[in-house]
Amino acid sequence: MTYGLVLSIIGAALAAGLAGIGSAVGVSIAGRSATGVLAEKPNLFGSVLVLQALPGTQGIYGFLMAVLILQKVGLLGGQAVPLDDWQGWAFLGAAIPIALVGLLSGIAQGKVAATSILMTGKRPEMATRGITMTALVETYAILALLVSILMYAAVAV
């Protein structure tokens, strides 16, 4: 009896869970600014919505990682693959980068998104620059996702 499968499930849970929390908090921080701006300027809905959606990607990355792990260990549409402890720990480790960075960068990005939304409220023509500045934060979530995927790809089952 090994714990491999359990550990990989914990990995998937952390990836989807923590990154999801990060995005949820980030989107809600941005959303609070968005509702305030929209109350004054309803016609900015489009650009404000884009800005609010930006911190949502970390959750998607975490979800992506969770699905990849579950698929590889055969829990999604297939037979569960027998894993030894070593493989289980490896999957758990592979999930850590996107889980942690997803959690923290999602929140951090939400704050930048919120201020960008306020800037858009004052100067609508600056919306794209706000979007670009907000996207800069996401770079590190993307890098973390990449590291997670590379580690995941390296684990043989």
Partner: protein
């Protein structure tokens, strides 16, 4: 390509001024430099504009639902025509709306009194008699249900005559009488038992007559409202007349605010004209008057001329991407052709799915065809439309159709009994190869940026700078790519890798010796050279940034296949099958929208930070010639289509 602009000063006689402005506005050739010395009063026109705007808004409540697919086109002659019907329509709408509003407020008041007095309609006494009786006082009002019994007991004890009626809104309606000596005291007692008095209306009628009068009045007014609304609905059909008028008045205001400066005998106008449209401009002026003069001159160093950009139809759409960052400076190279191609390709790779590509072609193609957007919106929609093509190509190469494996080559091959395939790389199965591809793509993009910098510095005759700041890095990057390619493909060093190392070495030496050239002393020169080499860390991070191409194409591909997996898992029964269709639909729409958003944002970032960071200055402003600005109507059919 950035077209040079020239300064133009047009002299005309006073009596030809208005005609000239009209012709210039129609021709859309000259960007007029505002002249602050003369001010023109346009308050009456702006007031008219506001009236029209209000009327259009009011009418929009009565017309058909505002259609997205509205396309309203007129000829120039009809556009300029001061049509009597427009003003009449405006006045008509205004009167009707005013009548309607006063009717509605009257109805509201009447309804309130109706609700207040209706419970008392059974009191069959003339209201004026109730008021002027000399021995007794009459009171009408309402009592809350819970104090009613208390009050009835009180009336019985004092032997006060009263009558109650049911009142649906205010509790119970009450009518009682008192002797006028006792009235004040009695009323105080009754008020304590939560009685609230209603003032009787000032009429010489019985309550029942009064209430039914109110009723009749209400129904008559409501009928009038109905008639007015029908009338407004009728007027709403000719709303386009008002829209035309709005744009015409706006154009008129624009013409009025063109301020001429004055010489002793004539008037003149300053502006910018594209160098390739100078002849057209003088032709336009000549058609108005023969007594004119145009002075043309090149912009001097002190001027800040606008940036006129001219590209083919494909590249023009991508100008919006560049302009969102910053409009090119008039003295730099136009980055748009390069931005167009890179943005187009990277967007496609990030989407990487035949199905999503087809969806983009369909949705945005329909949008261009049916909605006919204008300006930057049109450009953005076209960018997405074009990127649908690269998405399909990338999808064919990755073998993905709405997340399901799909090999176009094998399909075509099976027709000819051949083992063909068009799948060259599956990012999900071979993320490492895809990562390498993304980074190489990034290096090429950055080299392209450095090439721009090289060309720009050469054009400014800073030859040493071109070699030191641009060529050196190009050599280093090309050399390292050759070296790496050699290692990956043949796994051992050979001639090619030595050539690569040689390139990189020459580049590094150039940097080392030339980067500190501006320092006076030897320490400064050495430090400058080393500092420039240290900048290679920023190149490393720039190149690694292109790994997002892999990450985003993976994310859209994996989520798409996850949706297929989820839908497949519930397809056991008929209900499951229907539910699975819903999962397919919602899941793919979600993934499509999120992937598009990510691709739009991150593709833009790669242009703005990694690519533009190498050479782009920006800070210009667009050449926007004086023309007819259309807000309400779509197009003036016989005028050359405005570029923006």
């Amino acid at each position: 390509m950035i077209v040079p602009v020239k300064k133009a000063r047009i002299f005309v006689l006073e009596e030809r001024k208005d005609e000239l402005v009209r012709a210039l506005q129609k021709a859309s050739l000259l960007m007029i430099v505002p002249n602050s010395s003369l001010s023109v009063d346009v308050t009456s026109d702006t007031a008219l504009l506001q009236r029209i705007n209000k009327a259009i808004n009011d009418l929009s409540h009565y017309g058909k639902k505002k259609s997205l697919f509205k396309h309203h086109e007129v000829t120039y002659e009809n556009f300029m025509l001061e049509d009597e019907r427009q003003l009449r329509l405006l006045e008509d709408v205004e009167t009707k709306i005013e009548n309607l509003n006063s009717l509605l407020s009257h109805i509201k008041k009447t309804e309130e009194s109706f609700q207040r007095y209706a419970p008392f309609r059974e009191i069959d006494i003339n209201v004026s008699d109730l008021k002027k009786s000399s021995f007794s006082r009459y009171h009408v009002g309402h009592v809350q249900e819970d104090s009613l019994d208390n009050l009835k007991a009180f009336f019985a004890e004092k032997e006060i005559p009263y009558q109650t009626f049911s009142s649906p809104i205010y509790g119970t309606a009450l009518f009682f009488a008192s002797f006028y000596e006792e009235d004040e005291q009695l009323l105080g007692e009754v008020n304590k038992r939560s009685f609230s008095e209603v003032d009787l209306p000032d009429v010489n009628l019985t309550m029942s007559d009064y209430v039914s009068n109110l009723e009749n009045d209400l129904s008559a007014r409501k009928k009038q409202v109905g008639d007015l609304e029908i009338g407004l609905k009728d007027l709403a059909k000719s709303k386009s007349l008002l829209e035309l008028m709005y744009d015409r008045i706006q154009a008129k205001i624009d013409r009025k605010t063109v301020a001429f400066a004055k010489t002793e005998k004539s008037f003149y106008l300053d502006g910018w004209v594209r160098a390739d449209q100078v002849d057209e401009l003088s032709k336009t002026v000549k058609a108005v008057t023969t007594d004119f003069d145009i002075e043309l001159s090149d912009p001097t160093d002190g001027d800040l001329p606008p940036t006129a950009i001219k590209n083919n139809k494909f590249v023009t759409q991508f100008e919006t991407i560049t302009n969102m960052y910053s409009v090119p400076h008039h003295k730099e190279l136009d980055p748009n052709p390069a931005v167009a191609i890179w943005y187009w390709i990277i967007f496609g790779i990030m989407m990487g799915d035949i199905g999503y590509g087809l969806a983009m072609l369909t949705i945005f193609g329909l949008a261009i065809w049916l909605i006919k957007p204008k300006g930057t919106l049109k450009q953005l929609v076209s960018v997405f439309f074009y990127s649908g093509i690269t998405s399909i190509v990338a999808g064919i190469l990755f073998g993905s159709f709405f997340g399901a494996p799909f090999d176009l080559g094998a399909l075509i091959g099976s027709l000819f009994a051949q083992q063909w395939t068009t799948i060259i790389l599956n990012p999900v199965n071979d993320p490492l190869i895809m990562l390498g591809f993304s980074l190489v793509f990034g290096v090429l993009h950055i080299i392209n940026g450095l090439g721009f910098k090289f060309a720009l510095l050469i054009r400014r005759k800073d030859y040493v700078g071109a070699i030191a700041d641009a060529l050196s890095w190009i050599l280093i990057l090309v050399g390292l790519v050759l070296f790496a390619a050699q290692l990956v493909i043949w796994t051992s060093a050979s001639l090619l890798s030595y050539i690569g190392l040689g390139f990189a070495g020459v580049g590094a030496l150039l940097l080392l010796f030339l980067a500190g050239r501006k320092s006076k002393n030897i320490f400064g020169k050495v430090l400058g050279g080393l500092g420039a080499l240290y900048k290679s860390t920023s190149y490393v991070s720039d190149i690694l940034s292109y790994s997002r191409i892999l990450a985003l194409s993976l994310s859209s591909a994996v989520i798409a296949s996850t949706m297929n997996l989820l839908a497949g898992m519930i397809q056991g029964s008929v209900i499951g099958f229907i539910l699975s269709l819903l999962v397919y639909l919602v899941g793919h729409v979600f993934n499509f929208v999120m992937s598009m958003l990510s691709a739009y944002v991150h593709d833009g970032r790669l242009q703005y930070i990694e690519f533009f960071g190498k050479f782009y200055e920006g800070g210009g402003y667009l050449f926007e010639p004086f023309s007819i600005r259309l807000k309400q109507i779509s197009e003036i059919s016989d005028l050359r289509e405005e570029r923006r």
